[in-house]
């Protein structure tokens, strides 16, 4: 089992590939089916954000370990426009692209850990983690 998988995101089909790869890795790690679905859904949302706002980027999926805990880390990275008002982007219902704006706050609820690093004009890195219980 590879410890890291990189899925370039440049088309809609890549969103499907990323979430399928993520589900596969989650299954290998022993996540129950319910968690696999939460992880796949979160990957779909962050990959979609890349396509929608930055047009291209990458989703990196990796196995992580912290003491006796094992888990999956999803890093969605792009060199797009960045998020000007991150506090606002984290509110349910906020969106600048005509969507529902549920992406980021929703992803935070699906996963155990959530982090956004963004700067205007430079890009966005969203990091998600979930631990096997």
């Amino acid at each position: 089992m590879a410890d890291e998988t990189r899925v370039p995101i440049a088309s809609e089909l890549d969103i499907v590939t990323a979430r399928q790869q993520g589900r596969g890795l989650a299954a290998q790690l022993g996540f129950p089916l319910g968690d696999q679905t939460l992880i796949a859904t979160a990957i779909s949302e962050v990959a979609r954000n890349i396509l929608q706002y930055a047009r291209r980027g990458e989703v990196r999926l990796e196995l992580i370990q912290q003491g006796r805990l094992r888990g999956i880390q999803v890093v969605a990275r792009d060199d797009g426009p960045g998020i000007a008002d991150i506090a606002k982007a984290m509110q349910d219902g906020y969106s600048t692209s005509g969507g529902l704006g549920l992406g980021l706050p929703g992803c935070r609820r699906l996963m155990d850990e959530f982090d956004v690093d963004t700067s205007v004009g430079k890009g966005t890195v969203v990091t998600l983690k979930k631990w096997v219980r």
């Binding site: 679905t37 796949a40 859904t41 979609r48 529902l100 609820r109």
Partner: protein
Amino acid sequence: MHVPILKQGPNLIATVQAALTDADLVELRDELAAKVGNLRSRGVVVDVTALDVIDSFALRTLRSIAYTTRLRGAETVIVGIQPNVAFAMVQLGMKLEDVATALDLEEGLALLNRELRGGGNHGG
């Protein structure tokens, strides 16, 4: 992947086969809107049993299918949302709002037939 649409009496049945891209879903919506007119259908069942993920885009498109076909005079029922998928949708904060859902194809068709006979009794 193209979604086949079958006609059964006054209803259309669209069975989603596998992971769909955004474009496939939009194509399904447009095709259903056209077929409801061409075949004078009164009801539409969209069977999503095979979908292992319903993200915000998929949900918006399903809702848009229901609203579009309603404006064309047909009611849509979404059937087969898997338990794990339903839970993920709730966690994500997504709502289908006033779109009808049913457990499976059989229940979905029964719901549509009741509505046709009962003249749109949503108490079902």
